[in-house]
């Protein structure tokens, strides 16, 4: 009886033990076998996909010289949990050589991110990006004073001196609006993208393809190794290198000549249409615009006189002035309303219908033929040429005649964009009859109203690139003309050339007559004193008068004249007469390009005087 009671009680106790252990085992079975929610959760906890950055493609000139490349910079990163209560922003600003307000702003933004939870407290986060080596080395010595801050290597674009700023564009941090468009393409906050120019147009080609790395992260978000030894990782593929048509040496030389001048230089190889030089001044320093004080620098450039962000080579629109006389002459010769040997006695004044009196700006011998007229840049001669051309072309109406003349202009590549890549390019303007209809009323105007078009003024607007292209048609004598191009090679792919077929029907002799005029202009005409010993150089000056400022100095030149290898357009705003500033620059560039260097004391003196010449107006200095 007693034994039975004891046994019963022992079994009750053992029953309790068994019940509780069965309970535990069934919960184990539930968690480990039945409930599938927990099976993969552990892996999701620790295995994190990280993006690996591709190396951005570099940009080279036509000879393989580096123009834009990647350098090692340092990001200043903050680890919140390791930081002290209050960061001494004043000391940090001093260590960085940055304005206090900017450092404070960045720190405040970081703190806001911490408080709103968008920035993890336990993970390093870059608060100031792309510190150069000098700054980061200076900061590294003082880093102990700033607990929680560290430097992490990263890469940044760097550019050679006098790199074509407008052409290349620069790199900037992606903003919120852009992010919407770019996230689908693998970009994210904090990424740098090309801004303007080549960097932007070829963003995808240059950027390369993101890689994927699978890493193991602990609960604090700290990296603890590769997942499965990196077996699932995908290497980032580097971006494509880009080879431009630019000749870096010529580019830099042209830029040095344009120091303290406002304007544009375009050089083109007429045989291929390849653009050799694009200089637009004032410009900006690419290293500064991406440097530590980029914010401040950007503001100062935005407010600077002369609009440094405008790319005058592709987007600047100028009245071509007398440089257009060459084209005007060729249009008239093509239409057979004028002949190359026709003379005209300049009487200093030019009367139109007895109403308007126009004056020739030069005093010179009477022009025996079109070449001499170009040499002297005789205005009355070319008014006469234009008048005859438009009256002679007249079919049903003046309007039709003017539009025919305009179309002839367009066959020189005017009134349209020329590049097949998306650069900030203007199309210029060749006025249509409808424009004058609107201005004066239909059939209530005669070509006398726009007589100044004949000497490249009035409503006519050209970009420097269009000038260079129209002259490369001349240089090629209308044969085998190619559209201007900027890209030689993307990665391994050579870029094809586009042939230009809309060339006007002009005889070879007419071309030679005009080119002879350009030769004369340099040897003894408006651009006298700019000939290159041993190289046949020719060109046409232009002096576009500005009523309240010095004239714009313009020149379009080519060399060697027999088979030109280079066409150079130079515009120096407020640079005075075309022969005084623009022509010497073109001449020096032609010699530099064809010979490799400028030879002789006279030429060296010219180079020096041009380099030191300052044509900026008083408010720009």
């Amino acid at each position: 009886m007693m034994e039975n009671a004891a046994r019963r009680r022992a079994s009750i106790f053992l029953g309790l033990v068994i019940t509780l252990f069965v309970l535990l085992a069934s919960q184990l079975f539930n968690l480990q076998v039945l409930d599938e929610r927990y099976h993969a959760a552990a892996e999701e906890n620790v295995v994190k996909q990280r993006r690996t950055e591709p190396v951005r493609g570099e940009i080279y000139d036509r000879h393989g010289e580096k123009i834009a490349y990647n350098i090692v910079v340092y990001d200043l990163e903050a680890l919140y949990v390791a930081m002290e209560e209050d960061l001494d922003t004043e000391a940090l600003a001093e260590a960085l050589g940055m304005p206090l307000a900017e450092v404070q702003e960045r720190y405040d933004t970081y703190l806001e991110g911490i408080n709103t939870g968008t920035i993890p407290k336990v993970r390093k986060y870059p608060i100031i990006r792309a510190l150069d080596t000098t700054t980061s080395m200076r900061l590294r010595e003082q880093l102990l004073d700033f607990p929680g801050l560290s430097l992490s290597p990263s890469s940044r674009r760097e550019y050679v001196q006098y790199a074509p700023a407008h052409l290349l564009g620069y790199m900037g941090e992606i903003n919120k609006n852009e992010l919407k468009e770019y996230t689908t393409k693998g970009y994210r906050m904090g990424d740098y993208i090309g801004r303007g120019g080549i960097e932007s147009e070829f963003e995808y080609a240059l950027r390369g393809i993101n890689g994927e790395a699978y890493i193991i992260e602990d609960v604090y978000g700290a990296e603890r190794g590769k997942y499965e030894e990196g077996a699932n990782d995908i290497q980032a593929s580097p971006g494509n290198d880009l080879y431009l048509t630019i000749d870096l040496a010529l580019q830099q030389y042209a830029r040095s000549l344009m120091e303290n001048k406002k304007g544009a230089v375009v050089a083109i190889d007429p045989r291929t249409g390849e653009i050799l030089t694009l200089v637009s001044t004032p410009d900006y320093d690419l290293s500064e615009i991406m440097g530590v004080n980029r914010g401040e620098y950007f503001r100062s450039i935005s407010n600077a006189p002369g609009n440094p962000f405008l790319d005058r080579t592709l987007a600047g629109q100028y009245q071509p002035g007398s440089t257009f006389k060459t084209i005007s002459a060729l249009i008239a010769l093509s239409s057979r309303t004028w002949s190359r040997d026709r003379g005209y006695v300049c009487q200093y004044v030019y009367r139109l219908s007895g109403q308007t009196v126009l004056k020739c700006s030069h005093t010179h011998e009477p022009s025996q033929n079109i070449g001499q007229a170009l040499m002297h840049s005789c205005n009355p001669y070319f008014w006469e040429v234009f008048k005859k051309c438009v009256y002679g072309l007249r079919k049903e109406s003046y309007a039709q005649a003017l539009d025919d003349w305009g179309n002839a202009c367009r066959s020189f590549g005017l009134d349209t964009t020329l590049l097949d890549i998306g650069m900030a390019e203007s199309k210029g303007n060749v006025p249509r009859s409808s424009y004058y209809d609107g201005l004066y009323g239909q059939k209530r105007w005669a070509p006398t109203a726009m007589i100044s078009l004949g000497i490249g003024q009035g409503e006519l607007l050209l970009t420097p690139l269009q000038m260079a292209f129209s002259y490369s048609i001349v240089a090629n004598r209308g044969q085998k003309v190619f559209y201007p191009s900027l890209i030689r090679q993307i990665g391994q792919n050579h870029q094809g050339k586009r042939e230009y077929k809309d060339v006007l029907d002009i005889s070879g002799r007419d071309y030679e007559a005009v080119i002879d005029g350009m030769r004369l202009a340099v040897s003894s005409g408006t651009a006298k004193g700019n000939s290159i010993p041993g190289i046949s150089f020719g060109g046409k000056t232009g002096t576009v008068e500005k009523w309240d400022q010095p004239s714009h100095s313009m020149f379009v030149g080519m060399a060697p004249l027999k088979e030109p290898e280079i066409v150079i357009v130079v515009i120096v705003e407020n640079g005075g007469a075309g022969g005084s500033t623009a022509a010497p620059i073109a001449s020096l560039m032609a010699e530099k390009y064809l010979r490799g260097s400028v030879l002789g004391p006279d030429r060296k003196a010219l180079e020096y005087s041009i380099k030191t010449k300052n044509t900026l107006t008083w408010d720009e200095k």
């Binding site: 004891a6 309790l16 184990l28 480990q32 552990a42 892996e43 602990d218």
Partner: protein, 423 residues
């Protein structure tokens, strides 16, 4: 029992008398513990000195345990019976001293710190209280009034319970309540345990049900009891009193719940399914669940290695077992514990001495409570109550006290053949 020599070991080679199953189970679990600690503490980021590695320290504790083990085994068995109350009183004094001069760790002032070593008197009080309870039970004959026995046992358990609660360690305090489970084996009416179970259920429902609804249920239960009393001879007075007491209790529990600290309320809510899983608990469940059937393999758990599970080498060490050992490994460990507890019960049953038997049940109760609560909390089965997994959790104090507790029972068992006079 009145004859001290009953507990003496007469054999020439006393170690041969140690119960082999108990000894092997004890050693096996301890050694498994060292391996689990090693795996749970692995961290490439933190480089520790050799002697600072938790599993090395645990091995050191295993060797330190040899000292009390030798002392205990060399002692006369009757010594522990005689010294049960002095030990008990001594441990109560320690519990008071530690409240005054102890070091506070994790919000509980229950530690004595001696340099690198920290000892927790409440751990050792479990053994001494078990001895005291066994001594109380053994000193009563069957004819002694049940009330007196219960009163004395409750008093013996209540004092350390109160002191440990005052230290701020509610989890450890509950262990002293659990010692009461050993009374199942004592000659007291089973209806009392039935009442105990009712109290537990009422407490549980009090937290999830509306107070008035529960009151109605309790009244209904009382009615059923009264009807039952017409069939079987049960004193109606008892039923009415118990119903009234339960009714009061059902209203008191929700009130006391309001006095609990917010984190304690939260822990209870988690188990009751109110509100979502606590993040720490979720990580522990993920660790165990991701182990699946066979586990990730020794030292290959990512949840524990990368700090996702809190207190991974102490209170939550079972999540490492679950993650790395899977269902097979963790059920294997549970079986070892079940065998250990079962063996203690079996060994207790063969004791001639009432004292030894009750002591065996007392420590079986302690182990059962520890294992169930600890393992249960890592799986969200019971609220998170910070008590260690016996012999596995890292910590010298806990390991030493559990070892002493079990070795002492082995020693008592070694003298069982000489205690025929008792019982």
């Amino acid at each position: 029992m009145r004859n001290n020599s009953d507990y003496r070991i007469s054999s020439e080679r006393p170690l041969r008398l140690m119960d082999p199953a108990l000894t092997v189970l004890y050693l096996a679990i301890s050694i498994i513990g060292i391996f689990v600690i090693r795996s749970a503490s692995m961290d490439q980021e933190v480089v520790l000195e050799f002697w600072e590695e938790p599993h090395i320290r645990q091995i050191v504790w295993l060797f330190i345990t040899l000292i009390p083990a030798v002392v205990i085994l060399a002692m006369d068995g009757a010594f522990f019976f005689r010294m049960a109350f002095p030990f008990y009183v001594f441990s109560l004094i320690l519990l008071i001293i530690v409240m005054l001069f102890g070091t506070e760790i994790n919000g509980a002032r229950s530690w004595f710190r001696f340099g690198p070593v920290a000892l927790q008197p409440s751990e050792f009080a479990k053994t001494s209280t078990s001895l005291a309870v066994a001594a109380v039970c053994a000193s009563f004959d069957q004819d002694v009034p049940l009330k007196t026995l219960l009163r004395n046992v409750v008093a013996v358990l209540f004092l350390p319970f109160l002191l440990v609660v005052l230290q701020g360690d509610f989890g450890s305090a509950l262990v002293f309540v659990a010692i009461g489970l050993c009374l199942i084996r004592e000659n007291i009416p089973l209806s009392l345990f039935f009442m105990g179970l009712l109290v537990l259920l009422v407490s549980l429902f009090a937290l999830v049900m509306k107070a008035w609804a529960l009151a109605l249920c309790v009244l209904g239960l009382g009615l059923v009891g009264l009807l039952y009393s017409t069939v079987r001879r049960v004193p109606r007075r008892m039923i009415i009193i118990s119903t009234a007491a339960l009714l009061m209790w059902s209203q008191i529990v929700p009130l006391t719940y309001n006095f609990l600290a917010p984190h304690q309320q939260e822990r209870i809510n988690v188990v009751l399914g109110k509100g979502g899983d606590d993040w720490n608990l979720l990580q522990s469940k993920i660790a165990i669940g991701s182990g699946k059937l066979t586990g990730k393999g020794y030292a290959k758990g990512t949840q524990t290695k990368f700090d996702f599970v809190p207190e991974q080498n102490t209170d939550f060490i079972f999540s490492t077992v679950g993650e790395e050992g899977g269902l097979l490994g963790s059920v294997g460990l549970l079986i070892l514990f079940a065998l250990l507890i079962g063996r203690i019960v079996v060994v207790a049953e063969r004791q001639r001495s009432h004292f030894s038997r009750t002591y065996g049940y007392a420590i079986a109760s302690i182990l059962l409570f520890h294992v169930f609560i600890n393992v249960g909390m890592t799986m969200g089965l019971v609220p998170v109550i910070g008590i260690p997994l016996p012999l596995i959790s890292y910590g010298g104090s806990s390991f030493l006290s559990f070892s002493i507790m079990i070795i002492l029972f082995i020693r008592l068992d070694m003298g069982r053949k000489q205690s025929l006079a008792l019982s």
